[in-house]
């Protein structure tokens, strides 16, 4: 019976293989979407850890997260150096790292920050940033770049790069008067950090020096007036340098900025204090600030992207249904031309039930073949997609190994395949009973 079903399918191998192909595609799609989702989700929630709060000018949680962690877009205005100082002064606060954003390097976000960023930023399971080459920035003219940036443009330690104003990839306003020298390259993390360019706060500010003249920038004007910059940038931005009382020159240009900042990563001494600090930030400061819990914002963001994911899942489900319908069509379409075959089988002693069993077995074979080919597709596709995925999004999809939910899905497809075959099988039953041995052809 099994060999008969195999032969019978082989006899219709063209149509049968097309059916197997559609089932295979749907299997690969369904499992692939799930795996992509799981991997993306994991990498997504790995993108930041070890940061208890992100303080930024008041705005939407997701927007703040997107700009500070993912380097997409920017936060609102209204946070200044004093806000940062106040935050740092809070008892509960262990550390605070300021961030400045809004520029890009050939489409990659440029972040102005302190070298403490490299101490405190964590990703994945509390992994710290590592340098693949070079070291941190020491001066305002130095920059640290993410692994992707280095790989994509072929930058090495010592390369001189020029940033552009704004966040768009194409900008007419290049800061070519203020080039940076790459001092270090971060090891790949699989997070948005790989795509970022880091400069010192003063370095970041120096970019905007020509724009921020003493007349138009009240903050800069208020903080001092001692123009001096070796790269010829307007000195207004460096004014604070002379105000600095902490002594060490390296730290000086690293820690004090006159212009407004876009956000602060905050680490607390105890996580229990999160809600208290959050409340304090939103209630007690003179400026309007928000304190965002990264994990909460990540969940919110995931809820948004989850819509696309649902659409994708729905699509793969639709493909599965279409492929099973295709199988029913294949089996049903052949029934008319196979009436003679069934009559012959009955004449040599096959019961109608056996003939029905034959049809169901053909469906099972087709579905099984589809599932196997689909799994092979999936392995090939993930193998081919993984380098690209890792380059672009910093994560890989597990290639082998079928998870429990995967096997449940495969089982469901198999069961629905068998279930779908009941329709043609029922027709076969009717036909064999009605035709008997005399087929009306």
């Amino acid at each position: 019976m099994l060999s008969y079903a195999v032969q019978s399918l082989w006899n219709r191998r063209f149509v049968a293989s097309l059916t197997v192909l559609t089932i295979a595609l749907s299997v690969a799609l369904i499992l692939g979407v799930e795996r992509l989702r799981d991997s993306a989700r994991q990498s997504f929630f790995n993108s930041v850890s070890g940061i208890d709060l992100i303080v930024a000018p008041r705005g939407n949680d997701v927007q703040i997260l997107m700009s500070t962690v993912f380097g997409v877009g920017s936060t609102g205005a209204g946070m200044n150096w004093q806000n940062y100082k106040d935050l740092q002064a809070l008892d509960a606060v262990d550390w605070a790292v300021p961030l400045m954003m809004g520029d890009n390097h050939r489409g990659h976000p440029v972040v102005g920050t302190q070298s403490a960023y490299f101490d405190h930023f964590r990703y994945g399971a509390d992994q710290p940033l590592r340098f693949a080459a070079g070291r941190r920035f020491d001066t305002a003219e130095e920059t640290v770049i993410g692994a992707d940036v280095a790989a994509r443009f072929g930058y090495g330690v010592g390369t001189e790069i020029v940033n552009a104003h704004g966040t768009g990839a194409v900008s007419f306003e290049l800061h070519d008067d203020a080039p940076f020298t790459v001092s270090g390259i971060l090891a790949a993390t699989g997070t948005p950090v790989d795509r970022m360019v880091f400069v010192t706060l003063s370095g970041f500010d120096a970019l905007h020096a020509p724009l921020a003249s003493p007349q138009t920038d009240p903050l800069a004007a208020a903080s001092g007036t001692a123009p001096s910059h070796k790269n010829g940038a307007n000195a207004a931005t460096l004014a604070w340098k002379t105000d600095n009382g902490s002594g060490d020159a390296t730290q000086a240009h690293d820690t004090e900025v006159s212009a407004q900042i876009n956000g602060v990563f905050v680490g607390l001494k105890s996580r229990n204090a999160i809600l208290a600090v959050q409340r304090h930030v939103s209630a007690n400061t003179s400026s309007t600030l928000s304190a965002v819990m990264p994990n909460v914002a990540l969940l919110q963001l995931w809820a948004i992207t989850g819509t696309a994911e649902k659409a994708l899942r729905f699509m793969s489900l639709a493909v599965a249904v279409a492929s099973l319908i295709g199988m029913v069509v294949m089996l049903s379409a052949a029934l008319e031309s196979r009436r003679r075959e069934f009559a012959i089988l009955r004449s040599v002693g096959a019961t109608p039930k056996r003939i029905v069993g034959l049809i169901i077995m053909e469906a099972m074979l087709t579905t099984t073949a589809g599932i196997i080919v689909g799994l092979i597709f999936l392995i090939c596709a993930t193998g081919a997609a993984n380098p690209v995925l890792f380059d672009q999004f910093g994560f890989r999809i597990a290639m082998f190994g079928v998870s429990e939910s995967d096997s449940l899905r495969v089982l469901a497809i198999f069961c629905f395949g068998c279930l779908a075959s009941f329709l043609p099988a029922w027709r076969v039953y009717r036909i064999t009973l009605a035709d008997g041995l005399t087929t009306r052809l």
Partner: protein, 231 residues
């Protein structure tokens, strides 16, 4: 010994009022070769269906090899048919994508009884029958049935009906697609094998020239009281 005996059979297809076959008495003896002759549409094929147990019949009307067909469940009837009857149809006897030899072996897969009766291995028996029916097992035997000529196909069908020596061979116009020469040659080789296996042959045909191949020729019109209505 009587292989088939029919008494007071009156048969109408389910859901139809009109009786198509109505027979007082009919019998086929062991080893007998009988031609049931009558025009097309006279209900001959219906009678074969009734004998082969495809349809439900009134109790006691048809006995095949001493068994009342009507008393068997439909599953048992299918098994009974596989065990005791070999059938040859008008055309399209074979499953086209199977080789001639695989077609011949089909009844063996459904009937343990017929398999047990084989003297040789199934393969060898199939080849023996092919040879006896004038076909070359090495070439024709391995061809897909669809590639064979109609004459060859009918011989393969005969071999399939004969394998495992069933008691009765039912043949429904097996020669109607053959030309004059092929027809008589087919009948000759079929008769030879039927004699060898000791089977009874019941053939229905409208062809009046076949009479010389049979022990007995019965006019279906005379046998079937309904014929006047049915035609």
């Amino acid at each position: 010994m009587t292989r088939i005996s029919i008494n007071d059979l009156s048969f109408a297809w389910p859901g139809q009022d009109q009786t198509v076959v109505s027979i007082d008495h009919f019998s086929l003896e062991a080893g007998e070769r009988l031609l049931l002759q009558g025009p097309s549409g006279s209900g001959k094929s219906t009678l074969l269906s009734a004998i082969s147990g495809i349809t439900s019949l009134p109790n006691g009307a048809v006995e095949v090899v001493g068994t009342d067909i009507a008393k068997l469940s439909s599953r048992r009837r299918d098994q009974f048919r596989a065990d005791h009857l070999g059938m040859i149809f008008q055309v399209f006897n074979l499953i086209p994508w199977m080789s001639a030899r695989e077609n011949i072996l089909l009844p063996i897969t459904y009937s343990k009884m017929r398999k047990a009766r084989l003297q040789l291995s199934p393969q060898a028996e199939a080849d023996r029958l092919l040879k006896a029916l004038g076909l070359d097992p090495a070439t024709v035997g391995l061809q897909p049935a669809a590639n064979l000529s109609v004459g060859q196909q009918q011989r393969v069908a005969a071999a399939r009906a004969l394998i495992g020596s069933p008691e009765v061979i039912l043949a429904d116009e097996p020669t109607s697609a053959l030309d004059e020469r092929a027809k008589h040659r087919f009948m000759d080789v079929l008769n030879q094998q039927v004699q060898d296996t000791g089977a009874s042959l019941l053939m229905v045909s409208h062809d009046e020239t076949l009479g010389r191949h049979f022990d007995r020729v019965v006019s279906f019109e005379k046998l079937n009281r309904c014929c006047a209505v049915a035609c």
